[in-house]
Amino acid sequence: MNETAQIGGELASNTQSPLDDCFHCGLDATGVGIRERVGAKLREFCCNGCLQVAKYIYSAGLEAYYDKRSESRPGVVPQALADKLIIDENADFIRAVGDGKEATLIVKGIHCAACIWLIEHVVGAVAGVETVRVNFSSHKLYIKWSPQATTLKVIIDKLGSLGYEAAPFTDQARDELLEKRRSALLIKMIVAAFGTAATVFFADGLYAGFFWGIEDGFRDFMQWASLVVAVPVVLFSSSIFVKGAYVGLKHRSLTMDLPVALGAIITLIYSSWATFAGRGDVYFDSACMFVFLILLGRYFEAAARRKALAESSNLQALEVNTATLIAGGERKRVATTTIKVGDIIEVAPGEVIALDGTIIQGRSTIDESMLTGESRPLGKAEGGLVYGNTINIDGSLRIEVLKIGADTAFSSIKRMVEDAQLGKARIQRIADKVASYFVPLILIIAAGTFVYWSFYDLSNAVVYSVAVLIITCPCALALATPCAILAGCGAAAKKGILIKGAEVLENACKATVVLLDKTGTLTQGKMTVEGVFIDVSSDALPVDQAEVLRISASMEVRSEHPIGKAIVKKAKLRSSELYKSSEFKAIPGMGLVGSLLETPEFLALSGQDAEGKVVSISGVTELTVYIGNEKLMRENGVVVSSDLYDRQRELSSRAISSVYLAIGPGATSGKSRAVAVISVSDPVRAESASLIKELGLMGLKTIMLSGDNKETAEAVASRLGISRVISEVMPQDKEEVVKKLRAEGEVVVMVGDGINDGPALAAANVGMAVGSGTSLAIESADIVLLNSNPRMVGEALAISRSVYSGIKQNLWISLFYNLLFIPLAAMGFVVPVVAAIVMPLSSLIVIGNSVRAARKGLRVKDLKI
């Protein structure tokens, strides 16, 4: 708000220059767009002349003139201008991140790679700007700045001074911009096509004359007619190139527009001269035609780019704008933006759920494929969480809204995908650098071509050098990387694979080792009780399975341990009554010890031990209970029958974890005694084995990380075909494992569930979080797999490889293209018209190859989950 007031104040005090009139001469300056800070205030000028004069007057210390002058020219409060410039620093497209703020803008006027370079350098140099990234394909600018040091207005003004217009990015703004560009291109193209038709018609006569002779008068007429048509046509149609070239030159960077503009203008000037002079050949038809063809190429390129963009932004396809709000018992259709957290909305069958929330009434199956890529619908009932932009298939639901706007899962995923596309890979920075040397090199080659051929034939010299100017195409070079990344990340996102950027792709395909965290990645991450084995030796206590679970659950009910949770869950399925218990003592690495404050039923009912002797237990107020591994039993002197011991060993060898339940003295004569073994396991996901096989085929080493004991871990590993296991790893040690592997020179991909292995994911070259779109995972991982199918790990790596090789192919294609055609053009084998056909083709090939690479990467076409 401060900022707003300040801008308003500045303009309001600037009463010398009425709205949109030149500050110096007072003439109308509407639409000229020359706005500069002179005398510490932003002022409008009608032309650069006036601007310079004003600067000069201030520098010469003569500014008193303006003060005097203003007395006779009372100012108008420039309300409209003030409105135009106000940028509310609290607008909702500006997001706060930590101390800084970030926003995504759409930038108008980006022509080529040099523009990107220019914007990133100049805006990046503004004090307070932390990050600035521009995407060539989508014309999106991501900016992060510190609000203490600068404001978005300063940044937008800076962009304006470079000749670019910036506006908040919305899908609508993007579409409008694309549409505008498209129609502008189309009109210019149509005009050029008309010019081409007309001049070719005239040229026909001229060419015929070249062979069979033509009367001078007639020839003159044809040439003049061509000139009259071609000059306005070429000037109009090539204006986008000329403008682009000019803006580039002004900022001392040579853009791709320059050679094209030069080619068009030189041809035009030469032909006009030939017409006036009445000698030499005219090339009006060529000029029109190549302008037409290059425009056509750009048009196709824009269309292809739009398609690539559409592939990447299918996340938008489902966005819903309205929802049914239940307020005061009435249904009301409202815009989603007006809904607040805590509101109740109703979602009819077949409708898209608008926002994240909890189901408070009804049950349904829900298709979450747009979020997770998982094609199987999920059943959800009251209390279940549902996410915005997913489809409610068959039931009517009432939902209490939990998250709105930018906080929803969908929004954060979308933002991540978009940010990823703005990132820049090392390889692209190299390509950008090469491209920046490209244009000057081409100008030199063209000049050389001209000088060389002018010794022989001036007319040929012009034609050949123009061909060189037109045929060269750093566009392909500049497009190679962003296009492949855009298509690749987009295609991956469709499958629920979120890749955080170009750098990640690059690292992922250099990987040598894949570290897989067992729990939650290769397994389902949910411990379940598999079996309860009662001691059947002759002197065992008379317990049954239900009782074992009930006693164990009574102790474990307050436990956070996954095994404890599994036991409690299982017990609750059978009977909900638990015994009263005291606080327990957890012994890390072993288990727990606690006391029951009630006499268990089996003892109370039977009242006798296995041998038929009645044991007095009525006086027992506390019964010690041990739940844990063999070590716990041993250290507490618990008697374990050989039957139970064998059972436990056998489970271990099958990769199944187990715990003993032992009951302390008081229930038995003297010693504590193990009464049962409870086996728990975390089922291995069905697809884990095929993932390991796949990674092997890709030439990657796999290592499994597990907190289990060596035996269990190795059993799981051998079943999956993993050769190396690092077992008994505590969560906090995972990071160390990653670091050690990296120190050994490996490029490590760490795959985890993103919940307790954040540091390890961050320490790896590539951290991959499986099966969750939580903000935690999104923050710590480089690749997020929204789907929990382990095969997506392989999929993600395959896409990275395929996109990266697509990038390399693209760079080679454009290099080869330029190396082949530039010499040909310089030698005079390529006429400008052919050059104009070949040049856009090279760009189209690069775009096509990118889309192909992205599609190839997705080998698992239909996931069976």
């Binding site: 110096h24 001469c25 007072g26 003439l27 509407t30 639409g31 000229v32 767009g33 020359i34 009608c46 032309c47 650069n48 002349g49 006036c50 601007l51 310079q52 004069v53 600067k55 000069y56 007057i57 201030y58 520098s59 010469a60 210390g61 003569l62 008193a64 003139y65 303006y66 005097k68 002058r69 000749g163 403008k243 000019y246 803006v247 002004k250 000037i269 006009s272 001269w273 006036f276 002079a277 009445g278 002018s454 001036l458």
Partner: protein, 221 residues
């Protein structure tokens, strides 16, 4: 001779167009050094404008030399007629611009070569010496980017003769002389007057002269 008269009138009529700009500048200078009353102001203006025209003449000399050099180079490549041809085209474009037919945004892209701050400091060199300051500031005024000066400069270059080029620029400068000497008064007097009519005539003269230059370039062959 016909051309000289034409550029003279470009000057006379053109001043009306740019009285607001150069007139403003001159007024700014005169306010500081001109003193009160008509006489001292006229004296200041006289020196100031004489200096300004000197700059034009010097610019003409430069253009003439440049034109001659280009034509000499052009002879080697059969391009000798290109230079006047391009110069004529530049004049036509400037004429169209003066008519206001160029897209408005295009003005943004015209020359920014004028080193305003540097010259601003230079012009303080005269200190409080009235006539010296007038001379320095007049010389600087001659350098201010101006479409008309460039149009006539192109014409001067097209002659390909340094001497003719100086004459052309001087004739133009003389055309602007008298009106600008009274520029202060003129600027005020014109405040409410429609200047469009004058501008059209100026622009048309420039365009006609440009086309003629283009055409004549081939007649000379």
């Amino acid at each position: 001779m016909g051309d000289l008269i034409a550029v003279f009138f470009i000057g006379v009529l053109g001043v009306v167009h740019c009285a607001a700009m150069c007139g403003g500048l001159m007024t700014a200078c005169a306010m500081r050094f001109g003193g009160k009353g008509i006489k001292p102001t006229i004296g200041f203006s006289f020196i100031y404008n004489l200096a300004r025209i000197s700059t034009y003449a010097a610019f003409g000399l430069l253009m003439g030399v440049l034109g001659k050099a280009l034509i000499k180079i052009g002879l080697l490549t059969e391009f000798q007629t290109m230079m006047p041809f391009i110069a004529g085209a530049v004049m036509v474009l400037i004429g169209i611009d003066l008519l206001g037919l160029m897209p408005k945004g295009a003005k943004k892209y015209t020359s920014r070569l004028f080193p305003a701050h540097l010259l601003g400091r230079v012009s303080r060199a005269g200190g409080n010496r009235k006539y010296l300051s007038a001379a320095i500031m007049g010389l600087v005024n001659g350098l201010i980017p101006c479409g008309m000066v460039y149009a006539v400069g192109a014409k001067a270059a097209a002659t390909g003769e340094p001497l003719s080029a100086v004459l052309i620029m001087a004739a133009f400068g003389l055309g602007t002389f008298l009106p600008l000497v009274f520029g202060v008064a003129l600027a005020k007097g014109l405040a409410g007057v429609k200047t469009a009519g004058f501008t059209y005539v100026t622009s048309l003269i420039i365009i006609v002269l440009g086309v003629k230059t283009m055409y004549m370039s081939f007649m000379g062959m």
